[in-house]
């Protein structure tokens, strides 16, 4: 008899990996900084995978959602600094605001850009990212190009001790939870009608349409879900960890590129792929920057070309294919 929980087994390796990362970071001296970076990449990949992996659309403006998420948290903390009695409630409001702002932006972008396909979609999204950044700077929105610094307000709201613990530890743990939650949502999507619709549209959008699948609806659903996770990643990993925000930093396209590398390397559309991609990318970037500083991106360009030519389904895609119908196979999707 098939176990009722067996569809959720693939989450086990994900949770084990996050737990192991956490244990290593807390117990091995001097590794927390690396682990925190890895957690950020994991969450970033896991969130981006919901859109890129499941729909096959490449969004070059993805970092914009992390950016507005960061602003969401910044606005909550600076705006509510006069109500320190709310304490951690303000951080919670910050997350809600981050999600709302990322959702609004992704709805607006998705409604327009998702009418385009392939390369045209990718180009349009680069425009959105740059456009939004220049809008903030040019229209002097949220302090414009001088950005927002809210370390003082965070200290005031949470107290100096808690604030410093949030910055050095809890922000990263929140990122861990966001990554794990994104993985859970990915699996739920995969196992539901949305997942089938997205797989169909990734394989052949025209065919999916004539099957009576409302492709636009599912594309936008995946886009908004992915974007709101990105918003929370921005709020936790950027706004809470380093309590300031400058437009050129949070709309830096290179984070999008990293997210694409992570997802493609690990295996687009797989559950475990973003995690594996993030670990490979994060660890090798860390050591490359020590031993061969300055050439990491060049090396990764070659790696990603190699991956796409030789095994476009990514590391986990290959493992999934090899372990199909074996005992391990049920844990890897």
């Amino acid at each position: 008899m098939k176990n009722r929980l067996s569809p959720y087994y693939p989450l086990l390796p994900v949770f084990v990996a996050y737990f192991a990362l956490f244990l290593v970071g807390r117990n091995v001296e001097g590794t927390w900084q690396l682990v925190a970076t890895l957690l950020f990449y994991c969450a970033l990949g896991q969130a981006f995978n919901i859109f890129l992996g499941m729909t096959g659309y490449v969004d070059f403006g993805y970092v914009a959602f992390l950016g507005v998420g960061t602003y969401g948290m910044a606005i909550a903390i600076t705006g509510l600094a006069n109500f320190p009695q709310l304490g951690l409630g303000i951080v919670a409001i910050g997350f809600v605001l981050a999600i709302i702002m990322a959702t609004l932006l992704s709805t607006a972008v998705g409604a327009v850009a998702l009418r385009l396909r392939g390369a045209y979609f990718a180009i349009a999204t680069i425009g959105v990212n740059e456009g939004f950044r220049f809008l903030i700077e040019g229209a002097n929105l949220w302090n414009g190009s001088s950005g927002m610094i809210f370390t003082a307000q965070l200290n005031e709201i949470l107290g100096r001790d808690l604030a410093s613990r949030v910055m050095t530890l809890w922000a990263d743990i929140l990122v861990l939870f966001i990554g794990a939650l994104a993985a859970v949502v990915t699996l739920l999507y995969m196992k539901s009608k949305i997942g089938y619709a997205l797989t169909a549209l990734r394989e052949d959008e025209d065919a999916a349409k004539v099957m009576g699948i409302n492709v636009t609806k599912y594309k936008i659903t995946a886009f908004i879900t992915s974007a709101s996770f990105a918003g929370t990643v921005g709020a936790a990993a950027w706004a809470l960890k380093t309590p300031y925000v400058f437009p050129p930093e949070v709309f830096e396209i290179h984070y999008t590129i990293e997210a694409i590398i992570i997802v493609m390397l690990g295996g687009a559309g797989t559950l475990l792929g973003p995690l594996v991609g993030a670990l490979i990318y994060g660890v090798s970037k860390y050591y490359l920057s020590i031993f061969l500083p300055g050439v990491q991106l060049f090396i990764f360009a070659l790696v990603i070309i190699f991956v796409i030519v030789t095994f476009p389904e990514g590391v986990v895609g290959v493992i999934k294919r090899k372990t199909r119908n074996t005992a391990i196979g049920q844990y890897i999707i």
């Binding site: 797989t199 004539v210 099957m211 009576g212 699948i213």
Partner: protein, 235 residues
Amino acid sequence: MLKVENLESGYGAMQVLWQTELEVEKGTITSLLGPNGAGKSTLLSTILGSVRPWGGVIYYENQDITYMPSHKKVGLGIALVPEGKHLFPNMTVYENLMMGAYQKDAYARSRESLDTVYTLFPRLKERSWQMAGLLSGGEQQMVTIGRALMTMPQLMMLDEPSQGLAPKLAGEVFETIEKLKYDIGLTILLVEQNADASLGTADYAYIMHEGKIKASGTSEEIKNSKDIREAFLGI
């Protein structure tokens, strides 16, 4: 069953359909003929709604469906088998067929539909666990037709189903289309380049040229009209 009046549509600034008029009667095979670029595929896409109509009206069972989104039209029983074998290559034959039963009503009756498909194409039953991308051209065409059947259509529009197939297989496609009409009771709107074979199976035919309907009649009339044959069909 299907009635198109003054339909106009196109892509961007380029108009393709000009005041197109067409009618498909229930239980018949209607053939739409014409040279490349006449707008035949665009007409089918516009009827299904993947290309937006610019003007005119589309009636289906006396209901105005001109601006209905395509997934709702599929729910009403309109299916399109698109040109060029649009399969899901990395899914098995069975999964491809089940994608056709995506909508709730179709899914509820998917078991019966699957039986129908396997009776029509016994080969697909043998191949049900194979990746669709690895099938031969003829088998892929069976999957696309089978998958469209899974949506439980009343009206099936086929866009060049014999394209790229060997003559023998193309002949089988026309046999299949007759089975769809006689055994399953579907109404067919068939777009074909192969005018001779198409007129052989069809009850009615329309000739399309440069986005306009130039002639129509029973397939006998079209076949026997020397002017039409010379001007548009070259047979």
